[in-house]
Amino acid sequence: MSKQINVALIGNPNTGKTSVFNALTGLNQKVGNYPGITVEKKQGLCKLPRGVKAHIIDLPGTYSLNASSLDENVVIELLLNKNDKDFPDVAVVVSDVENLKRNLLLFTQIKDLEIPTILVINMSDRMRKKGILLDIPLLEKELNTKIALVSTRKREGIDNLKQLIADYRKLSTEPCLKASEIDSVYFDSLKEAFPNQLLYKLWLVITQDVNFGKTDRNEIETINSFKTKSKADLKRLQQKETIKRYQFINNTLKKGQTVDLASATDLRIKLDRILTHKVWGYLIFGVILLTIFQAIYDWAQVPMDLIDRLFVFLSEWTKSALPSGVFTSLLAEGIIPGLGGIVIFIPQIAFLFLFISLLEESGYMSRVVFLMDRIMRRFGLSGKSVVPLISGTACAIPAIMATRNIESWKERLITILVTPFTTCSARLPVYLIIIELVIPEGRFLGLGYQPLTLMLLYIIGFATALVSAWMLDRILKIKKKTFFVVEMPNYKLPLFKNVAITVIEKTKAFVFGAGKIILAISIILWFLASYGPGDDFNNAAEIVSAQSSSKDFSSEELREEIASYKLEHSYIGIAGHAIEPAIRPLGYDWKIGIAIVSSFAAREVFVGTLATIYSVGSGDQETIKSRMAGEVNPILGGPLFNFASGISLLLFYAFAMQCASTLAIVKKETNTWKWPMLQLFIMSGFAYVVALVAYQLLI
């Protein structure tokens, strides 16, 4: 049996590194987190020739080994730590044929760590179109490595790459640049102090601005005492190193690459002329956003109706097929409706992830960053804040992680703080069901009132995010150090496989993540709703019969009276009545109160909770929606979910901070409980006041 080969995939952003990873591993991959930090860790298995297996790890994209963010630091931590179980036997540097020069910078740095390094030149199908000609044997000789020409789009070159990985032992570990060339005096003294260490590795450890990890801590401390140069001097040397590396790369490419610019037909120029245009650019961006929202609303309707009916059927079937008892009613009245409340939103969430991944894969997102930077800066944000704000419409958690590439800490902090205002997919279930209940079905200028209301809620979310960012920019006293560099990658037709994997992985994570919470909550709720203390609950049948003996109830009506009397005197009813005084001014009854309280774990629990509460004791075959529509306001009469209470609920959910996972991630990213607690109290307090005012004005 042979040992698994550890392979690290490394590359600049936008080189198609993930496509290479997907081509090597297929669906045989696992996405997790690095221990203790929230950087996404993607790994997978790949079968190589002769029965050898490779464990492949897809490292975060980086332009160089000089880390300026947590994500980039992960790459360095791994490459500098020989004892890490993932330490690569061989590094595969993925480059893009059009940006070979820049991509090679990272390649030379990794090669200088004396790790066997294969160079992948990706998107080789574009070579002819761009007029690029490569002399591969010559480049292999100059760079002292093996090169794999790969086109993930045409599925070419992957087998060759697998073969090269399997033969990694034949690769040379000769460095490209001698570290001493950077500054001979300084490096000589380094060599004297640490005779057994690799000079370039020492140099990297010395010059890292950020050291988040625990690796090589002892080493760093001893080296810190050695550090004889000022920060400015070190930076000057890093600049010199970069120039030296580019000299080497230029010399290499002069021999091994010819570019015929005349034959390059550039789609980029034509597209950019329109998509980044001062007027058309913004117009097109607006139209794209509109289309996405309309599509999410319309396209998802059919599968959603099907899922809704399926769960009603499942619940009914369980009741009739299983012997009646505690377990059956837990299943039919607790778990199934609770889960149905989340599964029904899979179509919409999948669509949302689909659109976001299309925008990112195509390269369009960078144009949006470019267009929006100036505008966002007025609000104390960066153009790069647009990406978190847009992907926040899927989920605030990855969105907050996506703020890491914002260079200025102040802009980044503000983005983190306001991102939870954007309408995430967990709010969608709540919005959709309430909109269906309280907004009439008519049309205005060809657009339905219901989708328009939904869009208005999205706009309210964004606007609140911007206004609060503007206020935070004024309030927060943080010195601003702004750097803003964003690569404008070439346009690409998104690869179906990449988009599909993203949609499947993200939807799965959402459903299982939320599913666990919902399952637990629905079991607890079912229990609390099915049992109660004292005589009121246990003798409900006698009490109701005695009270209603004067009234003329049919047996069916009597049964329902008993069920609702029981619910009111169950544990959950008692808890709900206790908080009722606080929420009555907002137009809610105690059942909605329970749903709101339970959705402080996660917003999407709201629908599941109501589904569970309403289904306990009701025997009819009804969907969640029709049950909610049938609820009567106990004091005023009329439907409980009317225009006023519906709008009040919508606004409450638009502003309140009801997501334990978001709070946890904000704590992780900002390293203090101060900011998440601020979000929890300010956002929820604001939500309460707005909902109160709205209800009192509308009623």
Binding site: Y63, S64, N66, S68, E98, N99, K101, R102, L105, A232, K235, R236, Q238, Q239, T242, I243, Y246, R268, I269, D272, R273, T276, K278, S366, V369, F370, L371, D373, R374, G383, E407, T482, F483, F484, V485, V486, E487, M488, P489, N490
Partner: protein
């Protein structure tokens, strides 16, 4: 003639002469913003900020305030 990158007009190009390394992030240098390289202004957002550049084949956008610290040589007309 020498000007700062911020003064370049759309479609114009020049050769980078000097970058003030205190004001320029290392990341920008690593992306190719180094003396001797050709730079072209591809597109500007409203108010010429940010600026969309092509430096030696690498396309990137930077803010005007950063562009002020990059000196370029204009080709003689």
């Amino acid at each position: 003639m020498q000007i700062t990158l911020a003064q370049l007009k759309r479609g114009q190009h020049g050769i980078i002469a000097d970058v003030s390394s205190i004001h320029i992030p290392l990341k920008l240098l690593e992306m190719g913003c180094l003396p001797g390289n050709l730079v072209e202004l591809v597109q500007v957002a409203p108010f010429s900020d940010p600026m969309y550049l092509n430096i030696n084949g690498t396309h990137l956008a930077i803010r005007k305030e950063t562009a002020l610290h990059i000196i370029i040589d204009l080709p003689d007309v």
